[in-house]
């Protein structure tokens, strides 16, 4: 039991961080970023390159991932999303663009980083072992979980108290009102997108130390992130965090409880998600109709 909860918490922390970036971008621009997973993968590869290949400290590698993705995100927003949003009749059209970008990043990842699974040396060795394997958690996972929660907290504080954060929240709540209040929509959309991408990069960098990274992780990661965002409510920061932890817990519990029944854990998770949304169409904390 303790083990299940510990596993769930660790998974939840990393999921929540993945979902945060996605939901931020959605809240600000109403864009469902299909390329979020690919950004996460790039983050992983950058950390791999800096930490494992160039043998610089892990923290430096993490920063490199964050900065790379922030730049990539800002460029994507400025040169791709902005013009398309301006010109399109139906705002869903950005989904095609997002998917195109996801394909493109996939191609770039394959050409630049290759097809192999990559991993980095453990950042911390050792294992927390309580009561002879009733509760085990390697120290590096504990550290990564802790760093994830730290990042989440920093992000929330930033959104709550910084000027930029407040502007972005105003923008997310009501674009027109924010505009009237003098918020520069274009500028903060770009900052928001960069920040969202950066979060993806940070998770990628953190997780490469545990799970490694390969070019195929992008698409499935996006889909998982979508699920968390849906559980919590699209475009709501607290919702994304809740969604991440709920999904993590569901996986952890489901994989243990349903193990005896074979291959149905994910089927059960998906179906219960569908039922949940049928009763609560806006997720846990979302505004109706997102």
């Amino acid at each position: 039991m303790e083990q299940i909860i510990a596993n769930g918490l660790y998974l939840g922390a990393q999921y929540a961080l993945i979902a945060l970036g996605l939901t931020l971008i959605f809240a600000l621009m109403n864009v469902l970023n299909f390329a979020h997973g690919q950004m996460y993968v790039i983050g992983g590869f950058v950390t791999y390159t800096v930490y494992a290949q160039l043998e610089l400290p892990f923290v430096v590698a993490l920063f490199a991932s964050a900065i790379t993705l922030a730049v990539v995100g800002a460029l994507i927003e400025k040169f791709l999303f902005r013009p398309v949003i301006k010109k399109s009749v139906r705002e869903e059209s950005t989904m095609l663009l997002a998917a195109g970008i996801a394909f493109f990043l996939d191609a770039v990842i394959l050409l630049v980083f290759g097809e192999k699974q990559r991993g980095v040396p453990k950042i911390v060795n050792g294992l927390f072992n309580y009561d002879n394997y009733t509760l085990v958690m390697p120290y590096d996972k504990i550290l990564v979980g802790f760093l994830a929660i730290l990042s989440i907290t920093t992000f929330i504080l930033y959104m709550q108290y910084s000027k930029t954060g407040r502007a972005m929240r105003a923008l997310a709540q009501d674009k027109i009102a924010a505009q009237l209040m003098g918020v520069n929509v274009e500028r903060y959309s770009m900052i928001g997108f960069a920040l969202g991408a950066m979060l993806a990069g940070v998770v990628g960098g953190l997780l490469v130390s545990i799970t490694g990274v390969n070019l195929g992780m992008g698409g499935p990661t996006s889909i998982k992130a979508f699920m968390m965002v849906m559980i919590g409510g699209a475009g709501v920061i607290s919702g994304a965090i809740a969604g991440g932890f709920i999904l993590g817990m569901m996986e952890s519990v489901g994989l243990t409880v349903l193990a005896a029944y074979g291959d149905i854990t994910y089927l059960a998770i998906f179906i219960s998600l569908m039922i949940f949304l049928a009763f609560r169409p806006q997720g846990l904390m979302g505004k109706p109709w997102g």
Binding site: V136, L207, G216
Partner: protein, 400 residues
């Protein structure tokens, strides 16, 4: 009305596009000769890219090598080998398109696809167009009569599994086995084969229904219930090279001290990066590159591969063979370059030297036991153990 014009013009443009593409095709269809085209249809992008890429690159490396040394002499004509690759994106529908492309290029010998559903889907096309193909997929129906155009390009897990389990039972005293597989067609089928083999050997299968999604980022929850069944051998059925190190790591971190094995080919560098010392003792099936059995040719191959693509992939050890078989069989009966029936006849009696493995190993077609006809390449079943960044040979066996 305006709408009508739109329709009209749409149609015009569609037609024009079709026509121009067809015309473009005409000019492309008459390519130069003295080239022997061999096809590859498999997955070279997306999550499973490493299977297809290691495959295609092995072929390209070998082809470049052959061409550099003057080409391959089949009958009284010398050919340059050209590898035509098609990325099926692991989608069976695309795989069919790929096979059609191969037929269009006049290719009769194709390596791939890499997965079960693709291999099954291309069967009608291959048979209609006289293509012999070498899939890396295990369903027996592909190789048993009435099917006759598919040749299994590697050792199936239902062949290597029993050998490995038997070895481990006898030398390491394994009694209880647990199986874990990804929740996808290929691994699940392989798990089923593995479980049957283990049971046939009298082993106690303590867990055989735990699966995971290939995109799992933390395998601890997956393996926690498996560990409770306290196996002394954990089999990772059909595990993708990307997942293997994570699974090993999670198992070890959960305190598992027993053996871990798989029947698929793995890459040492990936294991080293992903699991480090924890991967020591991991048993997998390799090809020919372990120092103990590799010949100079194999070392040369690895060297050329590394030069061409920057980094070698150990999965290629098992994938170097398909092209070799095609070329050697063609040499044995030059008429089969265009006549697939001749190729099939030759398969029954064919035998040539295996240049990649030390000793007097032969290239020959096998599969009588498993399929009732010779529809499998005979490659040495090299069971290896990972140790500090390298694979060490445990034992070598053969399939009949």
């Amino acid at each position: 009305m305006n709408k009508r014009r739109i329709i009209l013009k749409t149609m015009a443009v569609t037609a024009l596009a079709t026509a121009s593409l067809v015309m473009a095709g005409i000019s492309g269809a008459h390519a130069a000769n003295a080239k022997l085209k061999i096809g590859f249809v498999g997955v070279t992008s997306g999550p499973a890219a490493s299977w297809g890429i290691s495959n295609a690159r092995s072929m390209q490396t070998r082809a470049a090598w052959i061409n550099e040394t003057g080409g391959v002499k089949i009958g009284d004509k010398t050919y340059d080998v050209e590898i035509v690759t098609f990325d099926d994106q692991k989608d069976p529908k695309r795989a069919i398109a790929g096979m059609e492309k191969m037929a269009q290029e006049g290719i009769h010998y194709v390596v791939g696809p890499n997965v079960d559903d693709g291999a099954a889907a291309v069967r009608p096309v291959a048979e209609q167009n006289d293509i012999i193909y070498f899939p890396y997929a295990f369903p027996k129906s592909l190789y048993q009569a009435p099917a006759s155009n598919a040749v299994l390009g590697m050792i199936a897990n239902y062949q290597s599994g029993p050998a490995i389990y038997k070895y481990l039972k006898e030398t390491k005293g394994v009694k209880k086995v647990a199986f874990v597989a990804a929740n996808e067609s290929d691994p699940l089928s392989q798990r089923e084969g593995g479980v049957a083999a283990a049971k046939a050997l009298g082993l106690d299968v303590v867990s055989d229904n735990i699966t995971y999604q290939v995109d799992t980022t933390d395998f601890s929850p997956v393996l926690t219930p498996v560990m409770r069944s306290q196996p002394d051998l954990l089999v990772l059925s059909g595990v993708a090279p990307a997942n293997a190190p994570q699974l090993i790591r999670a198992a070890r971190e959960l305190g598992y001290a027993g053996l871990i094995s798989t029947e698929t080919a793995q890459d040492a560098a990936v294991l080293k990066e992903g699991a480090g010392d924890m991967a020591n003792g991991f048993i997998s099936v390799g090809g020919a590159s372990t120092p103990k059995i590799a010949t100079d040719e194999m070392r040369e191959f690895v060297k050329r591969y590394t030069e061409m693509f920057g980094e070698y992939n150990d999965e290629s050890n098992t994938k170097v063979y398909a092209l070799e078989y095609i070329l050697e069989t063609l040499k044995a009966n030059p008429a089969s370059i265009t006549d697939v029936a001749k190729f099939k006849q030759t398969m029954d009696t064919f035998s040539a030297k295996n240049i990649f493995v030390k000793g007097d190993a032969k290239l020959k077609y096998v599969g009588m036991t498993s399929f009732g006809q010779k529809r499998q390449v005979s490659v040495p079943m090299v069971v290896t153990e990972y140790r500090n960044g390298n694979f060490e040979t445990l034992f070598v066996a053969e399939v009949d």
